[in-house]
Symmetry: C2
Subunit: 146 residues, 2 copies
DNA sequence: CCTTCACTTCGGCAGTTGACGAAATGATAG
DNA sequence: CTATCATTTCGTCAACTGCCGAAGTGAAGG
């Protein structure tokens, strides 16, 4: 078992922080995108989520503060990836996996795969609009929200 | 396997609802108390949490809406228990377990064990104040919140 | 019936959250 | 150095949350 010595044990406050981080559709979707393993930059997630870059950045900041993602700068671009080291990492994966077959999450997965093939400059010069780089959003069916 | 055909898979909205429900100290603590298995009534949890009964009731209502607890009326008293049937039940248990060794949660466990021995009328006639039924709160050490 | 009791619902207030655009930051290219 | 670019920070606003006490609800008991 590669089980490195983890931090002691999360406090109520930390667990609450993690739960709050999960408790927003945009953040849950971002985690679901990142759960595929590959890191993603802010602009890639922004283009999929259709939110302002500043909004997405704020969400990522909260995910980072809760220890769910880590950042890695590469030039001007900042890549985020799931942080596997946290005590909560496994539990978080479980929670995220619960929504794996949600239509919205599935669509995000499809989109992000295509987005990954688009060079960053192309994506941002298109104003982060996927249609402008030839990616169509498959319409999803009513999403069956309970 | 008693595994009745549950709802297909939780939607993003449902998972977010569950995460939000976990994302509050009082609710997380209530779930931790209930995770011991035995059902608890509103007044018992109220006395431990030191909140207004209406506040606790509201929290329990939210937990119920998210499918995390179920209620069972017994006369005037309403008992709540963890709902194991939900698709998210396992993941929730995990999240709650993360905080199991938090000082606050440990104290709650100790208190609830004593509270359970006090008859409900005695508890409520004491205004839900534990000191008034001879239960002392062990002072907890700084709680080490990160 | 009328009261009591355990709980829930309602109204209102304070604090937090999430959205955006504008401006600041820091790295790279010319 | 200057310009550009990806991202972050800041200011502001509307919406939501959590708390309480007061009033309402429904079961038990006098």
């Amino acid at each position: 078992m590669a089980r490195p010595p983890r931090a002691p044990r999360p406090s109520v406050r930390q667990v609450v922080g993690v739960a709050k981080a999960l408790g927003h559709p945009a953040r849950l979707r971002m985690l679901a995108m990142l759960a595929r393993g590959a890191p993603l930059c802010v602009c890639q997630m922004t283009s999929v989520l259709e939110l302002a870059p500043s909004t997405v950045s704020g969400h990522l900041n909260e995910l980072r503060r809760s220890g769910l993602v880590s950042e890695e700068k590469a030039g001007k671009v900042v890549y985020y990836r799931l942080d596997e080291r946290g005590e909560a990492a496994d539990a978080v994966r479980r929670m995220v996996a619960l929504a794996a077959s949600d239509d919205h999450v599935r669509q995000d997965r499809i989109l992000i795969r295509q987005v990954r093939r688009v060079p960053i400059p192309t994506l941002t010069r298109a104003g982060l609009k996927l249609e402008r780089v030839g990616i169509k959003r498959p319409r999803l069916r009513a999403s069956a929200g309970a």
